[in-house]
Symmetry: C2
Subunit: 408 residues, 2 copies
Amino acid sequence: MTEVSRRRLFGYAGAGVALAGAGATAGALAAQPKAAPRVVPFHGEHQAGITTAAQDRLHFVSFDVTTDKRAELVDLLREWTIAAERMTRGEEAADRGAVGGPQHAPPADTGEALGLSAASLTLTVGFGPSLFDKRFGLEEARPPALADLPRFPADDLDPKRSGGDICVQACADDPQVAVHAVRNLARIGFGAVAVRWSQLGFGRTSSTTKDQATPRNLFGFKDGTNNIKAENPDELRDHVWVRDGDGPQWMAGGTYLVARRIRMHIETWDRTSLAEQEAIVGRKKGSGAPLGQAEEFDPVDLHVKGAGGVPLIPEDAHVRLAAAESLGGVKILRRGYNFTDGSDGFGHLDAGLFFICFNRDPRRQFVPMQQALSSKDTMMEYLKHNGSGLFACPPGVRPGEFWGQRLF
Amino acid sequence: MTEVSRRRLFGYAGAGVALAGAGATAGALAAQPKAAPRVVPFHGEHQAGITTAAQDRLHFVSFDVTTDKRAELVDLLREWTIAAERMTRGEEAADRGAVGGPQHAPPADTGEALGLSAASLTLTVGFGPSLFDKRFGLEEARPPALADLPRFPADDLDPKRSGGDICVQACADDPQVAVHAVRNLARIGFGAVAVRWSQLGFGRTSSTTKDQATPRNLFGFKDGTNNIKAENPDELRDHVWVRDGDGPQWMAGGTYLVARRIRMHIETWDRTSLAEQEAIVGRKKGSGAPLGQAEEFDPVDLHVKGAGGVPLIPEDAHVRLAAAESLGGVKILRRGYNFTDGSDGFGHLDAGLFFICFNRDPRRQFVPMQQALSSKDTMMEYLKHNGSGLFACPPGVRPGEFWGQRLF
């Protein structure tokens, strides 16, 4: 056997190890309904994992590059691209994989995804501002839009959850598939990169296609109703994809990723009245309808007034401050996830929203939006931003290319 | 409307809010294959979540009781039982729930599970040794089998990840459903309990019924092949359920839960050869077959010898040390989960196995097994136990009873 692929040996296309062995019965697979082994194409004009229908689970990782040799960095990106493309097809990270190689060498895949489907895995890479320092001779290639984020009011950033030279966003419908992918990239990168921080998200808080139902965040509200959707090419062109002439040519077709680890003080929120919660958000908790409207997708009307001429959507409501109308037309593509990371040591869950957004120029999109929210949004009383990252995601790769090839 | 139930308003039995609204189409649910809304019965002779077919996701929480009033503790358990039973049915934590109550009161449910199915949720409660101190007059009721665990060789326990007065194990096929349940129990317990620690598990590492395929741990190996299975009442009677006469009568039909947070040094493991990995585990990585056998479920034969009379399963292999044959017949019911909690600050993922087992008497089962493993198992070079908990899980409740009623 020259190649052991996850799917060929173990999965849908293969014999199904799940059915082998004395203890398994013919009903084994039937008893465990699995999502279809959906494969998201890896190659394309843009990277997958941005407008791809948001998968249910996330593992996000930020790496420090530990080598100072440009050639080693390029080799790593080349190796990573091959492994990433394989894993998104549902295969092992490398030929021969976990069990097909020589007995006396470490396996070329870690094995915990054997038997699992591709689970819609996408791997999306981004380069942080710190990568563009003199180590790799990339100073001149740094896009002006990759400007360090300013300090926002109420920021409480933990350096151990912030920054990094390279990020990889792994999204999948099976968390074990996402974790496996990140872990194997880290393994392949041993000696060249080290994990700086990583974050699991257990539930998506955004829809990125029109056929996805809007999920709920840990405030219990539908989140991202007015998100940019994949079916809207005009909005993607205006707000997401970097165009020719926007900056260095290597970023054309790319986008900028902003990640924010937003701790939610859910215990305080849970002791707030329903009316107060809805006033803070500007939507009904049940339906997700904007205040003053009937249905979730009714347009937000910031001008409806109630008794005494008071706006139904308060001046400091989240939907008002985040509305394109309030921000000179600014929009972003949101792709965040709920998280719970144990407890905070003070009797509470350490839970919140791992916010991810994609934008064509954060200086004109995420930054002014967050300036408005962090200074005026009543919701900020219940939030603490304690992690932050900004990354330039290069355009998609064609077969044979590697991640960020046009940068090097 | 007098009652707003998650399923009635939003779920399979109801109108399906997912389908409402201008942006949703008739294909919305079809595009998101969901597990069937399986409901695991809450009432019974034993608690659910022990022999229940292991669900895919875990949220485990340990609470400190912060009140010193016995009556408040009993009230809490009563309230919790009602909420737990509702949530396992796929309903909100309380009548009226997230959006059906008065506008000027905090909602009776936090809302993030609106629209989600029951997802096979089980909630399993346990009482730690520290609950049986003089605060609640329970000293006499403490079962001898709930003896504090000894210190094992190589233990490196973090008090912030260990112990606790009460634990709740929430398992579900949807992690948001498990997190929602724990969060609402914590909310209901405000003023009486505080979260001491909590742990998410993203993938099960055990099967507890014969029709479940054996999953893989983060060493890439199938885990728990020889687990006690629900279909084996003799083994459950001998090794899992506390019998009349085993100790205090309130525990008859219950069991003891041991939780261990086992950090795996996966980076070191990944640089070990396949042969070495298989020798450490005592099984083939691909098939899961015991060394010297052909199929996963072939019986482990500790006496097969290879070239030169050397045992094929080494003396210090994990399967040998953990085998009932090596431990005087001792078995446990395993129900663990893979975890990844960000990074360790030293360039590695903080990943491992959140080990959970159930046994009739840990003094005769888990403790001698862990003594053997912690002193002889070669695998220990790749492990660090940094969290630990021991809890007495009372028997199941009948309708109208509350968790642990026979204790009070």
